[in-house]
Subunit: 147 residues, 2 copies
């Protein structure tokens, strides 16, 4: 089944080169901003009360995917869906970033890990009651996290 998505804005970051882009928000101190297209501004109301937001976006410079990939944090091939690799059948990126300020249709954010000009698909509030899980096992990543 096919679904057409349209960008609702653009994410602006300091990163124009894939190789210099942090691999995850938690490994990034960089700031940037989300430019939401003005027709959606009204949908940003009440967002400023949240300290963190979930951004869903397009990995717009991702290449074609393969089902086994070498993650940035590993040296072995892994199943693609057991990784956060950007080249995926549906190249949707997910980053949880800190929301610093809302200025009309502009959201100032911190902890950006995406390329400048990334097309935005959705913004959701980050809610620990929904999004934080404890007693979690992390497979291959567990052996890599301390490196």
């Amino acid at each position: 089944m096919e679904f057409m998505m349209k960008s609702i804005g653009v994410i602006h970051t300091p990163f124009i080169d894939k190789k210099q882009t942090p691999i995850q928000p938690t490994r990034s101190q960089a700031s940037g901003y989300v430019e939401v297209y003005p027709i959606f501004t009204k949908g940003l109301q009440d967002l400023e009360g949240f300290s963190h937001i979930i951004l869903l976006y397009i990995f717009h410079q991702s290449d074609s995917y393969t089902l086994r990939v070498k993650p940035f944090l590993d040296d072995q091939l892994r199943g693609l869906f057991a990784t956060r690799h950007p080249c995926r059948p549906n190249p949707i990126g997910l980053s949880i970033v800190r929301l610093l300020a809302c200025r009309g249709n502009i959201l100032d954010i911190e902890g950006v890990d995406m390329l400048d000009g990334t097309p935005l698909l959705d913004i959701k509030p980050y809610v620990p009651d929904f999004d934080v899980h404890t007693d979690v096992k992390t497979g291959w990543y567990a052996r890599r996290r301390k490196e």
Copy 2:
């Protein structure tokens, strides 16, 4: 900018009626399973080591959106992007569920909060190093969470 997405599988759950569907995985004890289309099975390797996975999917029964909505957990209109409401410009759902077992192209999961037959877009491993944030403020939701 437009992007074409194709489902990579189907999520099977006990829920055929929107009104009886839990509003979030953390409020659901229900089990279900993800049927990934067999051509993607190889991409599921190494996933079984993870206890939780992030599912991105289509809210396939969502209606047209409005930019201010009344969240299920609130009695006031809120900006759409400050809610997890299913009717969105790009109706992408995000649920973190417990992965119980991997059986070929079938993933047994717990904590389902989506309708039966939901088209799957992506699976990502849930990694606390990336996905858990503390010292979080949750805006309007903070006043509702204890109810």
